[in-house]
């Protein structure tokens, strides 16, 4: 009779079985001379405030790889549910995947309860997941939304602790943004004042922190309505080369003529295909 090996039921608590494997992999790759690919961090400024009618979330749009800008216009305000949005700082992949996992779990939960999800539920799900991974998931989040009990704002740290506060900032530019908040925050602000305050806080992070930059995204959540403003403010436009403003002959022209790259051999194979449809998507050359 063939012996079937049945895997044991998973024991409770933490499982560190992959740590040994990871250590071996790291040692092997070091022997070969290569290093484990470093995760891209966002090096960010994110913030949120509670105002009279709801929540305003704000974020910058720069993603860095070390000290080089990897993405000049990335989106850091993630969708969780129709009434809840979450800004993410820290490792870009971690914030993206964590918010997507909790978003899909919340949708299933909402179908099961038949109600719009509450911010406290999203908070509880996020903190329980992050604590389970003991800080190895480098996601620092600002979670905000409006539910049946009113507007709520939470900050969630990678180890799994959370704070429920009227105004929060996270990321490498959090100190600059918090300085602006501590100066001008007051409870029950109007919408325009709240948007201006969040915009100024993110701008403080963008101009004084090297890890943050580019534009300012805003997300205004009120009862029954979400206003996702991207970009709210293009704080940094790319330098305009002088020859675009005035006609200067033969300076600043970086177009290459045909034939600049030498062609060594040329083989043409005709493919007989029929054109079914045509769609043009312009490349983002900004």
């Amino acid at each position: 009779m063939a012996t079937l090996s049945v895997s044991r039921a998973p024991l409770g608590g933490f499982s560190f079985e992959n740590c040994k494997r990871n250590a071996v992999l790291e040692a092997d790759s070091a022997k070969l001379g290569s290093s484990v690919p470093a995760a891209r961090k966002t090096g960010t400024t994110i913030c949120g405030i509670v105002f009279k009618d709801g929540i305003v979330l704000g974020a910058d749009t720069r993603a860095t790889e070390g000290m080089i800008v990897a993405d000049k216009n990335c989106s850091k305000i993630h969708y969780i549910s129709p009434n809840i949005y979450c800004c993410g700082a820290g490792t870009a992949a971690d914030t993206e995947m964590t918010t997507q996992i909790i978003s899909s779990n919340l949708e299933l939960h909402g179908l099961s309860t038949g109600r719009l999800p509450r911010v406290a539920t999203a908070n509880r799900m996020l903190k329980q997941m992050l604590f389970r991974y003991q800080g190895y998931i480098g996601a620092a989040l600002v979670l905000g939304g409006v539910d049946c009990m009113g507007p709520h704002l939470y900050s969630i740290y990678p180890h799994g602790s959370t704070d429920k506060l009227p105004y929060v900032t996270m990321g490498s530019g959090s100190l600059a943004a918090m300085a602006v908040f501590e100066d001008r925050y007051k409870p029950d602000m109007e919408l325009e004042e709240a948007k201006r305050l969040v915009r100024d806080a993110i701008a403080g992070g963008i101009f004084n922190d090297l890890g943050s930059g580019s534009n300012i995204d805003l997300c205004v959540i009120t009862k029954g309505n979400v206003d996702y403003i991207r970009p709210h403010d293009e704080a940094n436009k790319k330098g305009v080369r002088v020859n675009e403003l005035e006609t200067l002959c033969q300076t600043g022209d970086y177009k290459y003529k045909k034939g600049t790259t030498g062609v060594l051999t040329k083989v043409i194979t005709p493919l007989n295909l029929d054109t079914v449809g045509e769609h043009v998507q312009t490349m983002d050359t900004s």
Partner: protein, 281 residues
Amino acid sequence: MISAQSFGENGKMKDYHHTGPVEYRFSPYTFNGGTVLAVAGEDFAIVASDTRLSEGYSIHSRDSPKCYKLTDTTVIGCSGFHGDCLTLTKIIDARLKMYKHSNNKMMTSGAIAAMLSTILYGRRFFPYYVYNIIGGLDEHGKGAVYSFDPVGSYQRDTYKAGGSASAMLQPLLDNQIGFKNMTGVEHVPLSKDKAVQLVKDVFISAAERDVYTGDALQILGIFVDTNEIPRLQFLCIYQADHWQEVSLPGGGLDDCAFTFSLRIKINVGSIFLLVIWIHVQ
């Protein structure tokens, strides 16, 4: 609050209180960022630098240029650790004075480069953390660029980028000035205006992608004017973020030596005042 320093070595967030002994080391160096670029033409040289001084994720100053004038024909650009940049330029200035007094002539660009190499190697075992690029006119009036590493290895180049965004700028310069990786292109000698335009464009690209480079661009030009006198011209401070080109007009010799001559005038004035005061008393 999350900051870059709170990520530990193994990728996990560092705890607020460490368990067990932690070794803290004092590092004599820090990296203050900045990018420097020099281009040599047939009868001119251009040295440019950004003006941002940073440390970690913060900015110390938005107005700290990295080009220093050495003589009427030579400019040095220093980036890296700002403390060593300042000390090194002071040492070079002192050595220039000593040479002038004992040899009764100004040092040529080549001589300054050779001297800098020995100064840097003298600190081989506690180096100056500075990436230097010297730009100027040689004794024949041709443009010269000398690029260094922190311990004094140097060579003469036509163009060189140094500092934090050097890896981004150098390939672009190789292509546009050295005509590398292009076939069938006419090798036009570089004119002064085209060189200045190229330097501005190249710094725009560097500022987009390198966090340490930005705020403003300072360009210094060294060329021979119509009277066959080599002079140094402060071409412009180009503020990329605010789109204000603050351009200083190229006047006579007064413009290029403006800082030095002003200082002398003030000193003379104050001495006169002192003399008058004592007399009256």
